[in-house]
């Protein structure tokens, strides 16, 4: 199973990713896409320390991730791509048509965001950003862990409006 999981998660590399998904899917590489982390040696090292030794961590800017996408998707081992926010995933999906599915794994409470699920809160801009990604034909659902039922974007936005 190659790179098939594209996840928005404001915690980036953390327990749910490396254990909750990492073990059942036997993830062997994580592509962390974040312009800020990629340009900061200390931040890159922080996430490297949080990645189990059996997984390779690749830290990329949006531009370098787009350039390397064919290489990532051609790998035969299992991988997951992470962004911390909707805007970064939006830029990626606009430039990399290989991304057909996006999972929202965690966008936590913050002023200006409204609750959809216990682990998903969205601002107006983020809701619009997800709509723009979906308009490109990308399927979007919220799912924190493999055993959880995925909630499609339309239902998620209905919860937000409820």
């Amino acid at each position: 199973m190659p790179l098939e999981h594209f996840r928005i998660d404001d915690r980036l590399v953390h327990g749910q990713v490396v254990v909750g998904w990492g073990q059942p899917l036997q993830l062997r590489f994580i592509v962390l896409v974040d312009d800020g982390v990629a340009s900061n040696d200390w931040e890159r090292e922080l996430y490297r320390m949080g990645t189990p030794p059996e997984m390779e961590l690749l830290v990329e800017t949006v531009d370098s991730a787009v350039a390397r996408m064919p290489e990532f998707t051609a790998r035969t081992d299992a991988g997951m791509l992470l962004t911390a926010d909707v805007a970064t995933m939006g830029r990626l999906t606009a430039a990399a048509p290989a991304i057909r599915d996006v999972t929202i794994g965690g966008l936590h409470h913050r002023p200006g965001r409204a609750a959809c699920l216990s682990y998903v809160y969205l601002s107006d801009d983020e809701a619009a950003g997800l709509g723009a990604i979906a308009a490109r034909g990308v399927r979007i659902a919220a799912q924190d862990l493999p055993a959880s039922s995925p909630m499609p974007l339309d239902d998620l936005l209905r919860e937000r409006g409820a």
């Binding site: 590399v13 953390h14 922080l46």
Partner: protein, 135 residues
């Protein structure tokens, strides 16, 4: 500087882990006041960092115990330790680790190394007497 009779460390973990393990230590050793429990529930990485920082600063504690080495609490703790070199972190905490720390009165690196070693030593496997895995 931590008050000798008050909290000396923050325990941070997923969901109710920290409050549960601190409660267990309190029942066993009778010293729950040594620890402040922090949960990452519902928080992004910045929120976890802020919660741990608030707990440390409220009591002058400079030790953080976390559950998962790759978890968000550990990531947040590492960020705090980068800004404040007086902060020490112990990951993969167990009840035995916290009991050793609670029953001592130090916060030095040897104190933390000893508590961590006690935690490692306490993990054992008692094989099934029915011979699971036997030829």
């Amino acid at each position: 500087m931590a008050d000798a009779s008050g909290p000396r460390a923050v325990v941070a973990g997923h969901a109710g882990f920290a409050s549960g393990i601190v409660s267990a230590v309190g029942k066993i050793a009778g010293r729950p006041e040594v620890f402040i429990a922090v949960s990452n529930e519902g928080l992004d990485l910045g929120g976890v960092e802020q919660a741990i920082r608030g707990a440390l600063d409220a009591h002058g504690a400079r030790v953080i115990f976390t559950d998962l080495p790759a978890g968000s609490c550990t990531m947040a703790a590492r960020r705090l330790a980068r800004l404040d070199p007086s902060i020490a972190i112990v990951t993969g905490v167990t009840v035995t680790t916290l009991l050793d720390f609670a029953l001592g009165d130090g916060v030095s690196e040897p104190d933390l190394q000893r508590a961590a070693a006690r935690g490692r030593e306490s993990i054992t496997v008692v094989p099934a007497s029915g011979g699971h895995g036997a030829a």
